[in-house]
Symmetry: C2
Subunit: 191 residues, 2 copies
C-alpha cells in the first residue's frame, strides 16, 4: 500500500528505515539511552549510514522530533465543546502513533533531560497551543489559560504513555474525554 509510483532512488528506503527506527527508539528510550548503533541495527544497516544521511545523532533527533499538532480551529460556534474536542484530538494524535505524527512521545521522553528537546516543546506550545487557546477566551488571560491546558494535557500524556501509571493507562477514551475534557474546557475558556 502507498506504493511509490515514482522511481525510488533506492536510498530513500533506507533513509525512511532509519527515520522509522529512530522515531521508535527515541520514543521508547529517550534521546540519551538511544544509541546510533541501536538505530542502525533496527534499520538493518551500518551505523555509518546514520551519520552520512543525517549528519549525526543530534541532527537526526531534530528531524524526527518535528511535530505538527494539527490543532483544529477552536474559534467555531460550539464553544462549549472546546475541551472535549481538544482532548479527543490529542488522544487520536497520541494513540494513532502509526500515522505520520508520533513525534510527541519522542519529545516527551527526551524533554525531561534534554534541553534541546525541552526547548522544542516550548516552541510547539508557543506556536501552536497558545494561539489556538487564545481565541477561546479573553486575550489578557490567554497565556495563563493556555499554560493550564498544557499542564493537564502533558500530564495526561506523561502518566498514560510514559509512566504508564496503571489507573491512567487503563482509562478508556470516552472517560478521558469526559473527565479531562471538562477540565480543559474550564481552563481554555476561563469558566
Amino acid at each position: 500500500m502507498t506504493e511509490p509510483r515514482r522511481s525510488t532512488p533506492k536510498s530513500i528506503r533506507t533513509r525512511q528505515a532509519i527515520e522509522e527506527a529512530a522515531k521508535y527508539l527515541f520514543a521508547l528510550n529517550g534521546f540519551e539511552r538511544t544509541t546510533v548503533r541501536d538505530i542502525a541495527a533496527r534499520a538493518g544497516i551500518d551505523p555509518a549510514m546514520v551519520i552520512r544521511y543525517f549528519g549525526g545523532k543530534d541532527a537526526l533527533f531534530a528531524r524526527v522530533a518535528a511535530l505538527d499538532l494539527r490543532l483544529p480551529d477552536l474559534g467555531g460556534a460550539e464553544s462549549d465543546m472546546i475541551g472535549e474536542t481538544l482532548v479527543r484530538h490529542f488522544l487520536a494524535l497520541w494513540e494513532g502513533e502509526a500515522a505520520g505524527g508520533g513525534g510527541m512521545p519522542v519529545l516527551l521522553r527526551s524533554a525531561a533531560s534534554n534541553e534541546e528537546a525541552a526547548a522544542r516543546l516550548r516552541d510547539i506550545f508557543r506556536e501552536q497551543v497558545f494561539p489556538a487557546i487564545a481565541r477561546a477566551g479573553p486575550p489578557e488571560t490567554a497565556a495563563q489559560r493556555a499554560g493550564l491546558v498544557a499542564s493537564q494535557l502533558l500530564g495526561l500524556a506523561l502518566t498514560r504513555y510514559v509512566l504508564k501509571l496503571p489507573p491512567v493507562a487503563a482509562l478508556d477514551a470516552e472517560t478521558i474525554v469526559r473527565e479531562v475534557g471538562a477540565t480543559v474546557q474550564r481552563y481554555a475558556t476561563g469558566h
Copy 2:
C-alpha cells in the same frame, strides 16, 4: 533537627556531600546525563569514593530518589477543601526544595527515560497518593480518581519545574491553588 549528637566519624561529612551533589545533579540533568565523575567533582572528592560509599551509581540514585510525600490526612471534615489542600501541599513540597525533601524533581527528570525511576514513581503513587485519595470518595472509583489527580499534579510539576513553560512557571502560587485546586477537587471527590 535530628542533629547528630554523637561524634562525627569525619566520613559522614563526605557522604552527605556526595548525597547533596547527587541530588542536585540528578535533579538538574536526570539520571543518564549525570556522571559519577561530575558528582565527585561537585563534592570535592574522588569518583572512587562514590562507589565505595554507595556501591554504585544505581544504588546512589535509589537512595537519593527516596521520597516521602507526607500527604496530609484527607479524611477530615472539610471535604470541599481537599483540592486546595492537596495543591498547596505539593507546591510547598516542590518549591521548598532546599528542605529535606526535594526527591520529586530528581524522579521527574529521570522517570521519562529510566525505567527504574518510573517504577519508583508508580510505587509512590500506589503507596501514598492512591490511599489518600481513596478516602475522599467512593471506593469503586478510587483508582480512576487517584489517576486523574496524578495526571494533573504531575503535569503541573512537569510544565512548571522541568519544562519551565513560561506561562506556567510564571503563575503565582495562589492562582495555581485556586485554578488547579478546583480541578483536583473534582477529580478527587468525583464531583
